[in-house]
């Protein structure tokens, strides 16, 4: 059954990549259009385009791309000439580190806070959490990041301004390097947390409120179950279900990285790679990252469904 679903991914991938390829080529511009400089001649651009195979019909280009994918070759970047797989691969560690740790921290904070604030609906605590989470949601990331930089880095000199690791630590122990990475990671992580916490807390709170108003909770209460048991054993699991769906859909975000965060803090992640590829019309790199993230979205949904069936016995995968 699981196998059948995985098999279903294949036509989906074809569809996604085909549509993205077409949209990409429909957008104005091509990789050579970026060199607008009076010293560059039109015939040079045409020659480069021909070398890259961009003078062929889009459909033909798509089939060339597919054929190479079939051979396990994601192609070469138009801009740097490097294999796309290498480009994606070298960006992965920094992206994963930031996204996975922010996800874990977000989960650690949102569940208790959402639970408590939903349970104590309309209390002072709930109002405070609600206020803070709206604040967190409405602060634009680029502004927040810069403010944190100004405060923590420039004013107080607590954290470094940019980068991933202190470059002069290459011979240092693993421990020293890990500390350096954590030190560099603090500000980007904090920026992500402030924005990321807010939404999920709201979501969690809402689902707790909804569950607590259901008949079976009332019945449990009537039977004299303790509030703690009711909350943690009976309500929590059900309230977690929608969160699992959200997390499943968010799996691709783990790989995609956040351009704004990476841009502000010079974090060497996927976001910057993707955005610069869009501006340079570096089609192979773009297709590579689209392929990557579409596989992850499917995988994420699939994992969400799987865990659904683990949490909720009513759900069965067919």
């Amino acid at each position: 059954m699981i196998f059948r679903r995985i098999l279903g991914f294949i036509p989906l991938i074809f569809g996604i990549t085909f549509i993205s390829f077409m949209i990409m080529h429909a957008a104005p511009g091509d990789p050579t259009m970026m060199f607008v400089d009076p010293s560059v001649q039109i015939q040079d651009m045409a020659q480069v385009k021909a070398n890259l195979g961009l003078d062929k019909p889009v459909l033909v280009q798509y089939f060339f791309w597919l054929k190479e994918i079939g051979k396990g070759n994601l192609g070469f970047s138009y801009v740097s000439g490097q294999p796309v797989l290498d480009l994606l691969w070298e960006r992965l560690p920094a992206t994963l580190l930031l996204s996975v740790s922010s996800l874990i921290l977000i989960l650690c904070f949102t569940f208790p806070l959402g639970l408590l604030s939903g349970y104590k609906k309309d209390s002072f605590f709930d109002r405070a959490v609600t206020f803070l989470s709206f604040l967190g949601m409405s602060l634009p990331t680029f502004w927040l990041g810069l403010m944190l930089l100004l405060l923590f880095s420039l004013r107080w000199s607590l954290f470094p301004t940019f980068g991933f690791i202190d470059p002069f630590l290459e011979d240092a122990s693993l421990w020293a390097r890990a500390v350096s990475v954590l030190h560099h990671m603090f500000l980007p992580l904090l920026t992500i947390l402030i924005g990321g916490l807010a939404g999920l807390i709201r979501f969690n709170r809402f689902s707790i409120i909804e569950i607590l108003s259901q008949d079976y909770i009332q019945a449990g209460r009537a039977r004299g179950l303790s509030e703690r048991r009711l909350l943690f054993k009976h309500a929590f699991k059900n309230a977690a279900l929608p969160i699992v769906t959200i997390l499943g859909a968010g799996l691709s975000g783990l790989i995609g990285g956040s351009f704004v965060i990476e841009y502000i803090f010079s974090w060497p992640g996927m976001g910057q790679l993707g955005v610069s590829a869009v501006f340079a019309r570096d089609y192979p790199v773009l297709m590579g990252s689209i392929l990557f993230s579409s596989i992850l979205i499917m995988l994420g949904n699939f994992l969400a469904d799987l865990s659904y069936s683990k949490i909720d016995p009513r759900v069965r995968i067919r």
């Binding site: 957008a27 104005p28 511009g29 091509d30 050579t32 259009m33 060199f35 607008v36 400089d37 009076p38 010293s39 560059v40 001649q41 039109i42 015939q43 040079d44 651009m45 020659q47 070398n51 890259l52 070469f76 801009v79 740097s80 000439g81 490097q82 480009l87 960006r91 920094a94 408590l116 349970y119 104590k120 209390s123 605590f125 930089l149 100004l150 880095s153 420039l154 004013r155 107080w156 000199s157 470094p160 301004t161 940019f162 980068g163 991933f164 690791i165 470059p167 509030e227 990476e262 841009y263 502000i264 010079s266 974090w267 060497p268 910057q272 790679l273 610069s276 501006f279 340079a280 019309r281």
Partner: protein, 543 residues
């Protein structure tokens, strides 16, 4: 039941209060931490590493393939050309000791240095130059610089006379060729027989320059170390660390924190860096000009009086003040005050004079009706396009819109994403789908602006306004045939005068760059568009 619930609530309340207290204490203690951090002195700076920021991840470290500024700023430290541009914007010998030009102006003979080694110890010779030129001319190479070495469809030939003497033989006289010999030279022994577009060399280049490549971490940094056998002397600073910081705000914070040694300064931040405790501010003209270009194929701009009216309506000094905060100069010709080709007489401009504009428009047959000018029932107006992401151009367009409204013109602004913009401007159709454009051209030391002004460069080419003047065409051709600088200057002065009189563009301003450099950095050359580190081997750090 209610009681138990209330008790539970009380319990939670208690936890909450405790939580608050803990939070407060944490905040308090972290404040203490901040305070101590605040008083701590910045760490002593290393004197063996110069930290030069890169504003983006370099794309490819091969000087004949790369087109981005991040790549070329790394390449500039690793590679040399036969000639180089010095701080006075003159071509001076680099890998070549000297050169001679034959009497028929078609053969350039270069005598190369015999004491230059590649970073791997191999000796540099004339075959490397030949290899570089031939690679560039190979159609399979994905370069946009090929046409620089093709003259009227015929490529430049290179002949190696001996190991350290070679000749470039041009198919016909072409004076802009000399600047092309500042091309960076690639090592033949490492690249021969490889696919230049995908070679691993492009990620770990080997050159002849003052610094050798050490490491490139994508999205993080590039590191270089000094070339002990550099022909012009061992560089004074051991290492160069080039962190990649894309956000200009972050770069500024890093400069102020003394984490990097140099950063460009946005105009609105400049006042903070004048008389700064540990940062010197430098400023110089960029090699570029910003202009308002008219689509001469559009009916409204066919009448020179309309173009002249617009030129007289734009207050350039005010524009420089508003857009560049005074860091720039009103422009009058398509050149730069920094270049030898800049004409001596500077009375070419159109002085700001709204009355004159109004008179010109009246002469052209426009009548004022409901605050807008009209002729034969159509309102005088046009759409002004510019590219997104350049605040200066957007602001310029807005100011032009406002001033032209004063004389009764209805201007609409359209800000376009770069590729859509290029698509409109570069489309092969006539007339092109735009009325007027605010854009800038960067300049090189070579004044030959054939692709911008020659009538053959329309509709395909950068003469997208459709400018056509036989005299200008002839002067452009003459400028290519004349090799003596003084005579060329006269030719181009005539050409600029003709262009300014025809008003295909209104030349707006020459912007200035502001750069902040730590005071610890010494051995700088004088400020100029080539930067302050044109002799990087002399740069050293002294705390």
């Amino acid at each position: 039941m209610r009681v138990s619930q209330d008790m539970e609530a009380c319990f939670l309340c208690y936890i909450y209060i405790m939580f608050q207290k803990i939070l407060f204490l944490t905040l308090l203690s972290s404040c203490g931490l901040f305070l101590t951090a605040c008083t701590s002195e910045p760490q002593p700076q290393q004197t063996d590493t110069l930290r030069l920021l890169l504003s983006a991840n370099p794309s490819i470290l091969n000087p004949i393939l790369s087109t981005d500024s991040a790549s070329s700023s790394v390449e500039g430290l690793i590679f040399n050309g036969l000639l180089r541009v010095n701080e006075d914007m003159q071509l001076v010998p680099d890998l070549a000791k000297s050169y001679t030009i034959s009497p028929d102006n078609k053969t350039y003979t270069f005598h190369l240095r015999d004491d230059v080694l590649w970073h791997d110890g191999h000796r540099f010779d004339a075959n490397d130059v030949k290899f570089t030129l031939e690679t560039l001319l190979d159609p399979k190479t994905n370069t946009v610089r090929r046409s620089n070495y093709v003259i009227n469809g015929k490529p430049v030939k290179v002949e190696v006379l001996d190991d350290f003497t070679l000749q470039f033989i041009l198919p016909e006289v072409y004076s802009p060729f000399l600047i092309r010999s500042s091309l960076s030279i690639l090592p033949e022994h490492l690249l021969a027989g490889q696919d230049i577009n995908t070679a691993t060399f492009n990620m770990a280049p080997i050159g002849t320059g003052p610094y050798r490549f050490k490491e490139w971490k994508a999205g993080q940094h590039v590191r270089l170390e000094k070339n002990e056998s550099y022909y012009a002397g061992v560089p004074k600073t051991d290492h160069i660390y080039m962190p990649i910081i894309s956000d200009p705000n972050t770069a500024l914070v890093a400069l102020e924190k003394q984490e990097i040694d140099r950063s460009s300064l946005p105009v609105k931040e400049v006042p903070r860096f004048i008389d700064h405790a540990f940062i010197n501010r430098f400023h110089y003209y960029d090699l570029m000009y910003t202009y308002l270009g008219f689509n001469l194929d559009k009916a409204v701009f066919k009448d020179r009086r309309v173009r002249a009216a617009i030129a007289h309506a734009i207050n350039k000094p005010a524009l420089v003040q508003a857009v560049l905060k005074g860091y720039g100069k009103p422009a009058d010709v398509p050149s730069s005050p920094l270049l030898w080709s800049y004409p001596d007489n500077d009375d070419l401009g159109f002085p700001f004079d709204l009355d004159k504009s109004r008179t010109l428009l009246k002469e052209a047959g426009y009548q004022l009706k409901d605050n807008y000018l009209e002729k034969d029932g159509t309102r005088l107006g046009f759409t002004l396009i510019t590219n997104k992401g350049n605040r200066e151009r957007e602001k310029t367009a807005q100011i032009i819109q406002r001033t032209l409204k004063l004389i009764g013109m209805d201007v609409e602004i359209q800000v376009m994403e770069w590729s859509s913009f290029i698509k409109v401007v570069n489309s092969p159709d006539t007339p092109k789908a735009f009325d007027a454009v605010v854009l800038g051209w960067s300049l090189s030391m070579e004044p030959d602006a054939y692709s911008i002004w020659h009538s053959s460069q329309y509709p395909k080419g950068f003469n997208f306004v459709g400018y056509k003047n036989e005299r200008v065409d002839a002067l452009l051709d003459a400028g290519r045939l004349e090799t003596e600088q003084g005579k060329r200057k006269t030719i181009y002065a005539q050409m600029y005068k003709a262009i300014v009189t025809d008003i295909p563009y209104v030349f707006l301003y020459y912007p200035e760059s502001n750069v902040g450099i730590q005071k610890t950095v010494n051995g700088l050359t004088k400020p100029g568009p080539a930067g302050l580190m044109t002799r990087i081997e002399n740069v050293y750090l002294q705390p």
